[in-house]
Symmetry: C2
Subunit: 114 residues, 2 copies
């Protein structure tokens, strides 16, 4: 039964994310927290290896600059990378980054169900 003033039951596990890790994780999740960016990322990851911006933009109802802005957010989060080849710019995913952010969502032990 909980009695102390500073805590009523089990202490915080050391397995919990520290403040620094949480800050970095939050910035990456922030990049994913928009429907357009999520679809952009999905299109980029489901393309064979890379995809042209000119194939992404027409899929949305927003202006070109807005798509460019969202791609920049994904790029700055380290989730995708890009390269200009001639007139067009191509984007591809960064799998290691995707795996890392995905790992933050793992539940340590299989919880029995409740």
């Amino acid at each position: 039964m909980p009695v102390s003033s500073s805590g009523c039951c089990a202490p915080i596990s050391d397995a919990a994310l520290d403040a620094a890790g949480a800050a970095e994780g939050a910035t990456v999740f922030k990049a994913l927290a928009d429907p357009i960016r999520l679809r952009l990322l999905s299109m980029i990851t489901s393309a064979g290896d890379e995809i042209c911006v000119c194939d992404l933009t027409p899929q949305f109802d927003v202006s070109g600059p807005t798509i460019s802005h969202h791609l920049k957010v994904l790029r700055e989060a380290g989730l995708v990378d890009c390269e200009r080849r001639g007139t067009w710019v191509y984007y591809w995913p960064v799998p290691e980054r995707l795996q890392w952010i995905s790992s933050l969502l793992a539940v340590p032990e299989p919880i029995p169900a409740r």
Copy 2:
């Protein structure tokens, strides 16, 4: 070489997330897009099975209502659930939801590295 006006190379894969799925995914990622909420979730998932709010609040430099607000966001995103027992309120994770959101981050095919 890209030539058409509507697309310059490969078409969008059918594997890409549709607008509806992206909208729901984005709301969940939005819940994760804050350092405090990420730490809260981490503490909740790394506790054995559940954890008391009174053990969460003192870990942060923000006020009680702010923690309460963040917990509500996590709850409404379906990531955690809670129950009041006497004076205290206990939170636990919803593993199925965590797995679902994690699955949105999976890269369809192993990309050869670039």
